[in-house]
């Protein structure tokens, strides 16, 4: 290792003696220290101190679990007994596992219901809250409230709403002469019911994002359009929507990632039923890992899902990005 020698300002080898003559011709000897080498190489170390807490957090809670779960993919492990190397057996199991395909299908169905609903509802409320509305701050807070309430609490609340015999929704339906709906026990209705609940829970975040997006659109553009005689609908169609495209991309990507994390709702409400219609990918991973102690297989499911999410997000960005460019 070479360092900057304070004596001759040359690149002397660390730990060696440097002999040089000063202005008066007297030979000076000094030792080039490794400390000087470190400092000269990496500069002031206070920056490292600053990032150290996060670096430790990242290493302990992100990098290590990620590396460990990658290792688990090739092992059988039940937490207690030693890990057993099984090569690609977890993958061969996964591709033969009907519940993996069921959970993937259910998650995709959820995304198809959840993302459009999320975007439409959030944009609608954002447009309302962006206008001149009395008590705008109050409404913004109200719509954001479900986001900060615990998922389990919200799910239990909706369980009461969806109750067949004395739930609020069925009470309203019977009051207007309609029949009761078995919200959580009909295989065709359970996932849409969960999607409605998840939309209600998360829409506040996307309202805020859309509001931020709306406020970046210059008012001059609308003024010019008004002068040209454009109706509010045409202004929305040709100004608002195109200029919200970057926000839309973010929201769709975030919704997709969030949708793949669907867990609390089916876990609490349905246990993955009826007929596995609400068995989400995350719930299946949880069951394999923490019910059956198949940590290796759960890690494999997790990695396959991560790859699927990555592919879907890349496709989304490509498609929406093209639209944006157009």
């Amino acid at each position: 290792m070479f360092g900057v020698c304070h004596h001759c300002a040359g690149g002397c080898r660390a730990g060696t003696a440097c002999a040089d003559r000063d202005d008066r011709g007297v030979e000076q000897v000094s030792t080039v220290s490794t400390r000087q080498t470190w400092k000269s190489r990496f500069g002031d170390r206070s920056g490292y101190g600053m990032v150290l807490p996060y670096a430790i957090f990242f290493l302990v809670f992100v990098a290590y679990p990620l590396a460990f779960s990658l290792l688990l993919v090739f092992h059988r492990w039940n937490i207690v007994t030693p890990m057993e190397w099984i090569g690609l057996k977890n993958f061969s199991r996964l591709f033969q596992d009907p519940l993996f395909y069921a959970s993937l299908w259910n998650t995709l169905v959820f995304l198809l219901l959840h993302i459009p609903a999320q975007v439409i509802v959030a944009l609608g409320f954002a447009l309302l809250l962006n206008g001149r509305l009395r008590g705008r701050g109050f409404f913004r807070a109200i719509y954001f409230l479900p986001v900060v309430v615990s998922g389990v609490v919200v799910t239990i609340l909706w369980q009461q709403l969806y109750a067949y015999d004395n739930g609020l929704l069925n009470g309203m339906l019977t009051a207007i002469g309609l029949g009761r709906v078995p919200w959580l026990v009909d295989p065709h209705v359970a996932m849409p019911a969960i999607a409605v609940m998840a939309t209600w829970k998360n829409v506040g975040i996307y309202i805020v994002l859309f509001l931020a997006g709306l406020q970046t659109i210059p008012t001059e553009v609308y003024d010019a359009a008004s002068v040209d005689g454009a109706s509010p609908f045409r202004q929305f169609r040709h100004i608002t929507l195109p200029m919200l495209q970057p926000t839309m991309i973010v929201i769709v990507v975030l919704s997709t990632i969030g949708g793949f994390s669907l867990f609390i709702e089916p876990y609490v409400l349905t246990g993955g039923g009826p007929m596995q219609s609400t068995l989400s990918g995350m719930l299946y991973i949880y069951n394999q890992g923490f019910y059956f102690n198949h940590m290796g297989y759960a890690a494999t499911l997790g990695f396959v899902y991560a790859v699927i999410i990555l592919l879907i997000v890349l496709v989304q960005r490509r498609v929406l990005g093209k639209e944006e460019a157009a």
Partner: protein, 435 residues
């Protein structure tokens, strides 16, 4: 300031402070005190029982002091104990060991075999008898659990609801049950909605839910067989098909609802006439439905069935962990827990059934059973119970069973014979996968 040194120093200090020191206690005579840790179940009744027993023990044994600490609350005791075995933080003694989890506990070397301790054979004979004890024997030939209590799943029935439907006696066979169900299940107030059901079960496909419908009925229908024999899946297809068909009829004929009830237990609310549950229900009924006229009876069985009606008994046994430094002292404490007077306390305080072959004949319990005739029925059922097998992949197999049960019995999308075939095929696949 050297940031690295400060951070490393702080972490080291935290680790040192996080450690716990062990101070050796001494008796009045100067001898070292043996300290044992005992984990009972974390429900209030059992904590009260454990507290009472530990106080008495500590007063009588100054040289062996027991520290009682309820099992940390989690989704299941098995998860907590497995994590404790992995971290070598197990207690010395635990009285909430489920036989179904024994496969993993023993495979990890987490437990001590009890059959080597003095007096085990005679004690086990009193507790379980030879036949039942064999079901607790591990594949290595050792017994790692001392039978402590079991809660047989039986049929609670609301006498008034049956009487109003014209039934003086509780139905004992599938056809009688279905017949009674057609009369009991009805819309009382004429609003077009059913107000009283014959029965109801949680239909969510969660593995342990099947311990309260399919599994006990399967044990009853098969004359006391479980799903495994010597760790191999060994289902009696005809019994399984009959049980699938019975529940399919219950849902198809509308005497069981395909829904979840909200706002309380429908049996307590008088919304259903029968309820499959264990003796813990007695305390609940005493508290929330003190005026209800109810009884308990064995589970319904196929019409052609003869002989005693078996059921699933939710066993919780006592084990000593391999981390125990004083096994003899731990064994002495385990024996103390199962003394007859402590079994009586288990009945009195917890409304739970101690596993004893002489439970209904022992004079010590006679007065209790005279005062609690419903509990006496559970006591009688104790002679005909089966637990859950200590088999690998048990939870996953029960999870599969739940899914097949849902398909066949609740939604009737497949026939009972097909359900049996599917369950067998999927179970074989699970066992193969996890080999």
């Amino acid at each position: 300031m050297n940031t690295t040194r400060v951070v490393i120093g702080s972490l080291a200090a935290l680790l040192v402070m996080g450690g716990c020191g062990n101070q050796e206690r001494r008796t009045a005579e100067g001898g070292a005190v043996i300290e044992l840790t005992y984990w009972p179940a974390p429900n209030p009744q059992e904590i009260q029982l454990a507290d009472t027993l530990v106080r008495r023990w500590n007063a009588a044994h100054p040289g062996i002091q027991v520290r009682m600490q309820p099992i940390p609350v989690s989704q299941s005791t098995e998860e907590v104990l497995l994590a404790a075995i992995a971290g070598r933080t197990t207690p010395d003694v635990c009285s909430n060991i489920q036989p179904g989890a024994m496969y993993e506990f023993t495979r990890t070397g987490g437990l001590l075999p009890l059959d080597g301790f003095e007096g085990f054979d005679s004690l086990a004979e009193i507790r379980a008898g030879a036949e039942l004890l064999e079901t607790f024997r591990s594949p290595d030939g050792h017994v790692y659990q001392l039978p402590w209590k079991s809660n047989p799943v039986m049929m609670f029935y609301n006498k008034r609801l049956l009487r109003e439907a014209g039934y003086a006696d509780v139905p004992r066979t599938y056809s009688a049950y279905l017949e009674a169900g057609r009369h009991v299940t009805r819309d009382i107030n004429g609003d077009g909605e059913i107000d009283v059901w014959m029965g109801e079960r949680d239909i969510r496909p969660i593995w342990w839910q099947r311990l309260f419908d399919f599994y006990p009925c399967y044990i009853a229908a098969s004359g006391g067989k479980t799903l495994f024999e010597r760790e191999a899946f060994h289902m009696h297809d005809s019994a399984a098909a009959e049980v699938f068909a019975f529940f399919q009829s219950c849902y198809r004929e509308g005497i069981f609802p395909r829904t979840f009830f909200q706002g309380g237990d429908p049996f307590i609310l008088g919304k259903k006439a029968t309820h499959f549950s264990g003796p813990w229900e007695v305390a609940t009924l005493r508290k929330f439905a003190p005026d209800m006229e109810y009884g308990v009876a064995p589970l319904p069985v196929p019409d052609a069935m003869t002989g005693p009606v078996y059921t699933y008994g939710d066993f919780k046994n006592i084990a000593v962990f391999s981390t125990c430094e004083h096994p003899e002292a731990a064994w002495a404490f385990a024996r103390y827990l199962v003394q007859p007077e402590h079994d009586l306390l288990l009945l009195e305080l917890c409304d739970q059934i101690p596993v004893r072959t002489d439970l209904v004949t022992h004079p010590l319990f006679a007065d209790y059973f005279r005062r609690n005739p419903v509990m006496a029925e559970f006591g009688k059922q104790l002679q005909h119970i089966r637990g859950i097998d200590a088999a690998p992949d048990l939870k996953e197999i029960f999870d599969t069973l739940s899914q097949v049960y849902e398909k066949c019995s609740v939604y009737a999308t497949i026939a009972p014979a097909d359900a049996v075939r599917e369950l067998r095929a999927r179970t074989v696949m699970i066992v193969e996968w996890n080999k």
